[in-house]
Assembly symmetry: C2
Homo-oligomer: 187 residues x 2
C-alpha cells in the first residue's frame, strides 16, 4: 500500500493549537490573493490519486466538530478508517462515512490491500508519526500557513530513528502559503 501525507501546518510546524483549533488555517496569509489554478493548493489532485484514508481518533473528532454538510465533505466517497483503541463507533455525524479500527496498522493495510485498495491518505499527527516509525509513509506534501502559532500540536512526534527525505520540491503560493513535497527514503 502506498501511503501519502497531505497536511497543513503553521510555519512552526503545528497542525492545531493546543486546544485543537485550526481556524488560523483559514485566516492565515492573504485569502484575497489570486491563486489562479492553485485555489485548492493541490488538494483535489491529491484526493484523485488516493483510494482510501487512514486517520487517528483526534483527527476524526476535529472533522466531526466541523459538522460539515454533505456538499462540503472534502473526502469524496473513499473508504475512511479511523484508528482507535478506545472508540468502537464513530460520532453520529460521521456514521456511514468512517469505519473504526483497533489493532495493528500492518494488519489494517493487509486488509485494505485484500480489497484491492492501493494508495492511502494518512492523516493526523499521531497517525503520521506511527506510520513513519513503521517506515510506511512513501511521500509527504506539507503546506505551511504563513504564521507562527507559537505552540500547539506538532505534526511530527518523536521518531524512533532519523529518516532521510529525497526529491524535495517547494512552491510558494500567492497567498504566502508554502508547500513542500518529499519522498521518504528509509535506510
Amino acid at each position: 500500500m502506498k501511503c501519502s501525507v497531505f497536511i497543513a501546518t503553521s510555519a512552526d510546524g503545528y497542525i492545531a493549537t493546543i486546544e485543537g483549533a485550526v481556524d488560523w488555517l483559514h485566516t492565515a496569509g492573504n485569502p484575497e490573493a489570486d491563486r489562479g489554478d492553485n485555489a485548492d493548493m493541490g488538494f483535489g489532485a491529491f484526493m484523485a490519486s488516493v483510494d482510501c484514508m487512514i486517520m487517528g481518533r483526534k483527527c476524526m473528532e476535529m472533522i466531526s466538530s466541523m459538522n460539515l454538510p454533505p456538499e462540503q465533505w472534502p473526502y469524496g466517497d473513499i473508504a475512511i478508517v479511523v484508528l482507535s483503541n478506545t472508540l468502537t463507533t464513530p460520532p453520529d455525524n460521521l456514521q456511514g462515512r468512517v469505519a473504526m479500527f483497533s489493532g495493528e496498522i500492518t494488519d489494517l493495510l493487509k486488509e485494505l490491500e485484500s480489497k484491492g485498495l492501493k494508495h492511502a491518505y494518512i492523516d493526523g499527527g499521531a497517525t503520521i508519526t506511527s506510520f513513519l516509525n513503521l517506515k510506511l509513509i512513501d511521500d509527504m506534501t506539507i503546506t505551511r500557513a504563513p504564521l507562527l502559532l507559537g505552540g500547539g500540536i506538532p505534526l511530527f512526534g518523536k521518531l524512533d530513528h532519523q529518516i532521510n527525505l529525497i526529491n524535495a520540491s517547494a512552491t510558494a503560493f500567492e497567498n504566502d502559503f508554502i508547500q513542500i513535497k518529499y519522498q521518504v527514503h528509509y535506510l
Copy 2:
C-alpha cells in the same frame, strides 16, 4: 536595527539533536549534487548584508566546540555579541572574536545602533524566540535539511502571541535542501 534570521533546521524543525549535535546538517541530502551558483545556499550574500551578529550562549558554545581554524571562520570580522546572564568571558578559542552581554536586548540594540550598526544577524533558537517575542525580527531565512531528526532542540520556542508572516518565497536546491524566506508582520 534591522534584525534577520538565517538558520538551518531539520525538516521537522530542529536546529540540533537533543545532545546539541549538528553533524546531520553536513551529511543530509546529496552533498554531491551540482549546486551551481548556490553552493553556499545564500549564506555569503546574507553575511554581506549584515554588520553585526547577536547569538545566545548555547549557540556560542556550539561554535566554540567546532574549534574552527581562522580560515574557516564563517562570520568575517563583524561584531558578534553573545547574550549570557551567567558567563562574563567567552571560551578561550573565541577570545577577541565575540563580546559577552548581560542585560536587556533593547538596550543592546540601542548600544549597537549608537555605534552606527544597522543590520543584525540573530542566531540560536532561544535568542530568535526572545527576539520574536519582543517583535524585533524583521525577516527569516530558514534552510531545511532533507531529514526528520525525530527529536532535538527546536528552532522556535514558545511564543507569547501568534505572528503573521508575509512575502513568502521558497527554493528547493539540487541537494534537496529547501530554503524558505518570510518577512515578519507584527500586529
